[in-house]
Amino acid sequence: MMKALRQEAAKLLQEKRAALIIGFAEREGHPALFISKPEDCERLFYDVSCRQNLAAYLSKPEVSARRPVAIVASLAALRSLVVLTAESQAAPGQVLALAVDKDAFLGTFDVAGAAELLRSKYPDLGPEKALLERVGELSKKSVVERAAFWAEEFAKCTRCYACRAACPGCYCARCIVEKNAPQWVSTAALGHGNYSWNIMRAFHQSGRCTLCGACEAACPQGLPLMVLNAALDREALEEFGARPGYDPEGKPVIGSWSAEDDHSYMR
């Protein structure tokens, strides 16, 4: 698998289909690796412990200045690429994906090809069972218990925004938490500011999150962010049939509407 990935990456650089390859390095922690010379492709590595979603780099100015770019992309990162394209954040024809899934190299795809691959081979990607069980367990608790659970978790948040940096979907040049006229979200790493921040981070991903898990993996304090993401993913699917990351021309769930949407909770 590794051999095919390295060869393909080197070929992209040789044929000038990509000027920059972003992949994972072999050394401990598997940090992101930036390659522009074909011979360096030997250093590329991938296995399931590579937790970063490399699509997050596509909004970094230093990276977009070096297009065309190819990223090593897990299935979730492929979906992120499709979401970014649907939201006009990935220049068409300028981004390629070296698709990987667990221990298989799937080939090189442009965005349309990635969407086609996902639709035909992986049409049902969603939260893992264990994650949904955690959501289920939490839902069974009383509101007071749920509040207590999150009070304890959010209290750990230092507001380092590693979750935001990790997420390809968090590409705003200026995040809502950085807007201070008025200051909607308190920047103090204390109770209510931490609550607002974590709620808004999750909410702004609703119907867009591809469940890659990079935010939770990046959190130094180990906050269970994926519980929020998974709950919203299932809700958006059930209510609006949302499957983010399958259609590069699809409209975002929030930002579109249907007259048929359920509103039984409205009085």
Partner: protein, 151 residues
């Protein structure tokens, strides 16, 4: 105008503070009609008028809870009646997801209410406020220990 006194709950009676975000064209006009029709309803609501439900950012709701609201009501034009064509449809999608997120993090549907009230529905508005107030009174004060509450 000073209405501060009514805000302060005494140990024996709990008077809920409910923040309402309403649209200018339908629910606010509905509330106005309730007033001009001399309909009496619970005085626990503080109305904040916005152009459209589409303008109501979920952050407004968090801010209200942060600053002492026991409950929040969001109300606007019935589907099809939005004066900006589709603001309420956009808002509806947002609320459908947002209320689930809040429920999961400890703000349940006894604290967060949504309704459609048209400019002609003064009676519906009065009934709604009475009903919401009764429900929140039953639910009691918003828990001081909730992480979303300002310490």
């Amino acid at each position: 105008m000073k209405t501060e006194k009514a805000d302060v709950p005494t140990p024996t009676t709990f008077e809920p503070r409910i923040t309402a975000f309403v649209c200018n064209w339908c629910t606010y006009a509905g509330a106005d009609l309730a007033g001009t029709s001399r309909l009496q309803y619970a005085p626990n609501l503080r109305i904040i008028k916005l152009p459209c439900t589409g303008r109501i950012d979920p952050l407004f709701v968090l801010k209200a809870f942060e600053n002492g609201a026991d409950a929040v009501l969001v109300s606007g034009c019935h589907p099809g009646d939005c004066h900006y064509t589709s603001g309420n449809y956009h808002a509806r999608r947002r609320w459908t997801l947002f209320r689930k997120l809040l429920a999961l993090t400890g703000i349940g549907d006894d604290r967060l209410f949504f309704s459609w009230v048209s400019a002609a529905e003064g009676q519906k508005f009065a009934d709604l406020v009475n009903d919401v107030t009764a429900k929140v009174r039953k639910a009691g004060p918003f828990q001081a220990a909730h992480p979303g509450r300002k310490a």
